[in-house]
Amino acid sequence: MFKNHPTLRYILTRGSWYFLTFLVAVTINFFLPRLGPSNPVDIILAKAGGVSDNATRQKEESYLKEFGLAEVDKAGNVLRDQKDAPIRTSAVKQFGNYIFMSLKGDLGTSFMSYPKKVTEIIKNAVPWTIALQLPAILLAWIVGNVLGALAAYRRGIFDKVFFPLALGANSIPFFAFGMLLVYLFGIYWHVFPAVGGYDSGLIPTFSWGFFASVLYHYTLPFLSIFLIFTGGQAIGMRSMCIYELGTDYVKYAKWLGISEGKVLFYMFRNAMLPQLTGLALSLGVMIGGALITEMIFSYPGIGMAVLSAIQSNDYPLIQGCTLLITVSVLIANFSVDILIGFLDPRVKAGRGAR
């Protein structure tokens, strides 16, 4: 099948791979938080003060129903066994419910801000995260690759200064660099705001004032993600290009007297593919790191939502966020893979890329 369409066949194989990975990810996302002994309903009840009277009992029932933890009869009452303990829904059935609800776009109810739905909280946070991370990662990838190729090609003084800098940027953990920027520019010099996504006195509207405030708050977190990624990408591209420079085709092209720009272009194109694959593999790490940057800057995105969810044991919100992060990483990976499918001549020749 698809013998005449190697690119299409490649995309379909990759697609089924990602579907399998998705299934594993969803299963992990459901079962890992249930490894521990803690039961979410007990946690909320303990927070509310656990006196066993009628009101608590009613509250417990409503929570058990809300989170799908107990068997319910047709009238909507919680079923109880002889000892008057609610009959627990089996984990497998809960898993079924979870998948069913998630597919409908319902990720449950948050503990922390109780009647609020998890989806609602996430919906407010996602635009911030996308607006911060997508441009930072893409730009860093492009700039890093260009700089890396230049460093490899020029060597000399440019490389001597640039390479240690890139190595340094790459080995500073995200949070360390973020904290340094917050402290220096936000607290010590007061050049940029240290925390938040916009001025706390403003209400989000489509006005110039609000937009300017957002941009002003955007600078530091953007820089801290951008600079570190650029370093990492540049190092990878540099060693790729040094390798390409030693290959026969580059030597031959130089010997033929082809212009430097053209040789550089060929070399760049060939070194690009492994860099794309590298991007696909490191996206998860990048997004995880960028989320921590959000936490440092108290940026109102998913990172902050995860942090506050962890601090208040808000399991549904943790699970909702982790599911969202995993799915976005998978989608981003798949997009890079499709790109590789169109760019890699080996795929077109039907020999697979990896």
Partner: protein
């Protein structure tokens, strides 16, 4: 062996290894010069002074003492996670690459799946489900469990390229078993590579520990560099300008990681002739 001697001619390797030894000395020998005390409380959030070289934290504990303890825990978690992840990953990777067949398929399937699922997410999910009893060792094991796939993937690719070499065929003809061939014929070739994998795994183990501790999912009974950062963040040390509460810890983490990365890059330069000038 000559290769390893070449390492000491590389200036970046010397920088890396001396930075690394410096951190080890700080963790092990600093207590001989400085009175380490993590029990006595003084005034909270005091700036550096004669008694407290790096001030005190929000509870009034001496920062230098906390940092030395924290550095020890972070190195412990990093090395333990690195050792477990590298051992498991190398054994499975070599086995898969050498054996081929369905064993290879299964291991490749597993690693391909877990390479894409973000490690950060899995770490959060496991650690948040274990509210009690998160010890340093357990955290190291969790980090190793989520990162061995990287080493398995890398080592598998290397060992499958060794498979068709003549001396392996010769060992087969001589009637050696798989385990013996792997141990005596394949692993020695991979040694420098595996060592580099181990360095990276240890560095990323230290980063993972500090990340997970920083967001409040760290060890419950010990101080690590990550929990110091978590305390600093939760007690507004950043906005109060109390640099001594977070800066030394971030500098230490960055220093260790930088040292490891520099060692790794210089080893790559020495072991991979293509990168040599």
């Amino acid at each position: 062996m000559k290769m390893f001697l070449n390492l000491f001619k590389s200036p970046s390797f010397l920088i890396g290894i001396s930075l690394f030894l410096l951190t080890i000395c700080l963790a092990l020998f600093f207590p001989f010069f400085y009175h380490i005390d993590v029990r006595t409380m003084s005034a909270p959030m005091m700036p550096p002074s004669r008694e407290h070289w790096l001030g005190t934290n929000h509870m009034g504990f001496d920062m230098v003492s906390l940092l030395v303890r924290g550095l020890r825990s972070s190195l412990y978690v990093g090395f333990l996670a690195g050792i477990i992840a590298t051992t498991v990953g190398t054994l499975l990777g070599v086995y898969a690459g050498f054996k081929g067949g369905w064993q290879d398929e299964v291991i490749t399937l597993l690693t391909n799946i877990f390479v894409v699922i973000p490690q950060f997410v899995v770490l959060i999910l496991i650690s948040s489900s274990m509210k009690e009893g998160r010890s340093l060792t357990l955290i190291a094991v969790i980090i190793a469990l989520t990162s061995w796939t990287w080493s398995a993937r890398a080592v598998r690719a290397q060992s499958s390229s060794l498979k068709s070499r003549d001396h392996i065929a010769l060992a087969h003809v001589n009637g050696n078993g798989t385990l013996r061939i792997v141990l005596y014929q394949i692993l020695p070739y991979l040694f420098s590579y595996v060592f580099m994998v181990f360095i990276i795994q240890t560095a990323s183990g230290i980063i993972s520990e500090s990340c997970i501790s920083m967001i409040g999912l760290g060890p419950y009974d010990s101080v690590s560099l990550g929990t110091i950062l978590n305390d600093a963040m939760r007690n507004e040390a950043l906005s109060d300008g109390a640099w001594w509460a977070f800066m030394p810890a971030t500098v230490l983490i960055s220093m260790i990681v930088f040292a490891f990365y520099v060692i790794n890059t210089s080893m790559e330069g020495v072991f991979n002739p293509r990168l040599r000038k």
